[in-house]
Each structure stands twice: as C-alpha cells, then as structure tokens.
C-alpha cells in the first residue's frame, strides 16, 4: 500500500500571503497520479489540483501551484495570495495508474487558517 505523509498538522497564514504545504509519499511505481483536495468546514471535499507523475511540468490552477519532485517523492502545494475562503483542511492523495485500483490514498491532512 502507498503511504502519504503530511508532516504539518496546522498552518496559519496572513491574508494575501503565501503558504506552502508539504507532502511526501512512498511508492515503487513509476507512473501514478497525485492530488490535493480541500475540505472546508462544510465537509465537502473539493479537488484543488492534480499532477500526473510522467509530466515534469508542475501543475498550476490559478493561485494554487505544486512543486513536484519525483526523485524525492515530494509533492508540495503553494497557495498564493491567500484568501479567507482558503481556510480549510488540505489533503494530499495518491492514486495508482493501473486499472481496478482507482482508490485514493490520503495523508492525514493539514489544517490551514487564513487570518484577516
């Protein structure tokens, strides 16, 4: 089974500032998918960004970007120009490429609080 580790239980950031969340994972596979999900207090999990391991280019979605270091098995999320609505729990997740194994393996999550 793949292990996903998020070493920062909580992060706090001032509005408009930048925060970076760390994620490392353990796998022996060469191709896989990585995701960051956001879970606000409403409990609704929302996909923030995804990265395909065979792509060297880091994924970007508006204010959200990742730093994917395949050799180091690291997948950090950077939130730029933080907004109050970014306050949520953020989960890093791993998914295998092979068929019949679509389940996501999640880290323990990082709670992000954006201060006004």
């Amino acid at each position: 089974a793949q292990t996903v580790t998020q070493s920062q239980p909580e992060m706090s950031v001032q509005e408009a500032e930048t925060v970076t969340l760390s994620c490392t994972y353990d796998t022996s596979e060469n191709n896989y998918y990585l995701f960051w999900y956001k879970q606000p207090p409403s409990r609704q999990m929302i996909l923030v960004i995804r990265q395909e391991a065979y792509k060297q280019q880091n994924a970007t979605e508006n204010r959200f970007s990742v730093n994917f270091q395949k050799a180091a098995k690291s997948f950090s999320l950077k939130i730029s120009d933080s907004q109050l609505g970014d306050t949520a729990m953020y989960f890093c997740a791993f998914r295998r490429v092979f068929s019949n194994d679509y389940k996501l393996s999640f880290g323990a999550g990082t709670t992000v609080t954006v201060r006004a």
Binding site: V4, Q6, Y33, Y37, S42, R43, Q44, M45, I46, L47, R50, E52, F91, A93, V97, F98, S99, N100, D101, Y102, K103, L104, S105, F106, G107, A108, G109
Partner: protein, 116 residues
C-alpha cells in the same frame, strides 16, 4: 443529480444497533467509492464499486461492514452491531470509472455517524 448526495447528514445511534448510510452518485458515473474519516484523521478507503460489482472491498474493517449497489446507481453502506469506534464521517465519491487522470473523484458531503 448535480452532485453526489448522501443521507442522512447526521446519524446518532446506540451501540449494537444497525445503521444504513446511503449514497446517490452523479448520474452516469459508473465508479463509486466509500471512505471513512475518523476525527482529525485522513480518509481511509473502504470499498470501491464498478457498476454493481465491488472489485475492491479490501478496506472494510470487519464483517460488520457491508455495502451494495443496485442498478449501477445508489449505494448503501450497512454497519451491523455498531461500536463506538465506528463513529466517524463516512464519505462517498463517484467518478466516470476510467483510468485517466481526468477521472476525478467527486465527493458527497458525508454522513456523520455517532455511536453512543
């Protein structure tokens, strides 16, 4: 429907009782997943359906847990003889069922189960 729906939103039960949790996936999604999120924890995979069959039920914690899916749509997760350690948020997700990075898992709002 427009999104994944789950019912009930909250469920309080007494130890030893049986409970049924319902998930209604996005129309047309063939893949359906159940995850469990214990307090302050990441998401733990329970079971995956492709159509009405469950090729991966490796995450079900005990034989008290079972799930079924009928008509390739609605799924029910049943917990028999509930225990206090079953208290958690149970999240359901659905996806198109294709092994592509764009096959995003869309989550429902979850059912918070409390076993007294």
């Amino acid at each position: 429907g427009a999104g994944v729906s789950q019912s009930p939103s909250n469920k309080v039960t007494e130890k030893g009782k049986d409970v049924e949790l319902r998930c209604d996936p996005i129309s047309g999604h063939t893949a359906l997943y159940w995850y469990r999120q214990s307090l302050g924890q990441g998401l733990e995979f329970l079971i995956y359906f492709q159509g009405n069959s469950a090729p991966d039920k490796s995450g079900l914690p005990s034989d008290r847990f079972s799930a079924e899916r009928t008509g390739g749509s609605v799924s029910t997760l049943t917990i028999q003889r509930t225990q206090q350690e079953d208290s958690a948020v149970y999240l359901c997700a659905s996806s198109t069922g294709l092994a592509l990075p764009t096959d995003t898992q869309y989550f429902g709002p979850g059912t918070r189960l409390t076993v007294l």
